[in-house]
């Protein structure tokens, strides 16, 4: 499986993502700088965590309008599996590929800890190796993870199996405790928690590895 990690000024989880992808897929991912217009054909695109452009204006707002994102949006719309973590999730909502927005945590605190969350659907290329309703532990580290969408959008996301993960407890004020969502076609996942930081026991657990293995099941 060939993958690419998009790197923005201020990304800081790009190397964690690259290590996870290389360990699990066996192939070093392509690191693509935000000023590029194009990159080699890949099977999987990752938008890493971090604080791109210093979170200026809104988290992910600048990155979502960068040169490389035009190409990422095109490929995601063509069905290429695209995965945004933390700042990557914020960027995906800012492009409009994923609905809603990520706002300042309701209690205003930066939250940095391992959190429990439940797998809300196993019928997706990102979650097929988890058990239905399984509780998993994945770290979060964010200030703006408070997921917001209007009630109709939330109902649609829940009704159509587009909510991938929910926090077991309310950690940031996110509507309906949503931690991660899929697009309608199911080839795009955005989530605030960091599965790439939980891929082997030495890191505190392997619950994140299962997400990458799910993708491998699908793509080989």
């Amino acid at each position: 499986m060939k993958s690419a990690v998009i790197v923005f000024p201020g990304s800081n989880c790009d190397r964690d993502m690259a290590v996870a992808l290389e360990k699990i897929t066996g192939t070093k991912p392509l690191m693509v700088w935000h000023q590029e217009y194009d990159f080699d054909t890949v099977d999987f695109i990752a938008l890493p965590g971090g604080f791109s452009y210093g979170d200026y204006l809104r988290c992910g707002a600048m990155s979502a309008r960068s040169h490389i994102m035009k190409e990422v949006i095109k490929r995601a719309n063509d069905g290429v599996p695209t995965f945004g973590v933390c700042n990557g999730f914020q960027i995906l909502t800012e492009t409009g590929i994923l609905p809603g927005a990520l706002m300042r945590n309701a209690n205003l605190h930066f939250v940095c800890k391992d959190v429990k969350m439940t797998v809300e659907t196993t019928d997706s290329m990102f979650t097929n190796a988890y058990g239905a309703g399984q509780e998993i532990t994945i770290p979060v580290a964010h200030h703006d993870g408070n997921y917001f969408a209007d009630a109709d959008t939330l109902d649609r996301l829940e009704g159509e199996g587009q909510v991938a993960f929910k926090y077991a407890d309310d950690i940031n004020g996110a509507q309906r405790r949503i931690a991660g969502i899929l697009n309608g076609k199911g080839n795009v996942l955005g989530m605030m928690p960091h599965p790439e930081r939980m891929i082997e026991p030495a890191l505190g657990g392997s619950d994140g590895r299962v997400l990458f293995e799910s993708v491998m099941n699908k793509l080989g």
């Binding site: 204006l57 809104r58 927005a101 309701a106 205003l108 917001f148």
Partner: protein
Amino acid sequence: MKARIHVTLKNGVLDPQGKAIEHALGNMGFDGVNEARQGKFIELELNETDRPKAEAAVDEMCRKLLANTVIENYSIELE
């Protein structure tokens, strides 16, 4: 021409920073503040001299970058 843009959170969208400001004002003894909402103010210096054209251009800038219309409203003043 100068454009002044106010970006505010839509009604019904929780504004935790506004809430914190409201509480701080209350703690400082400023009574009678029912609600505080925090927004952004952006000032642009434009080359355009035609008012309707400037308005249309700034409106597009707001929709495409300056505001996130999922959660925010914006208003434009030209001078």
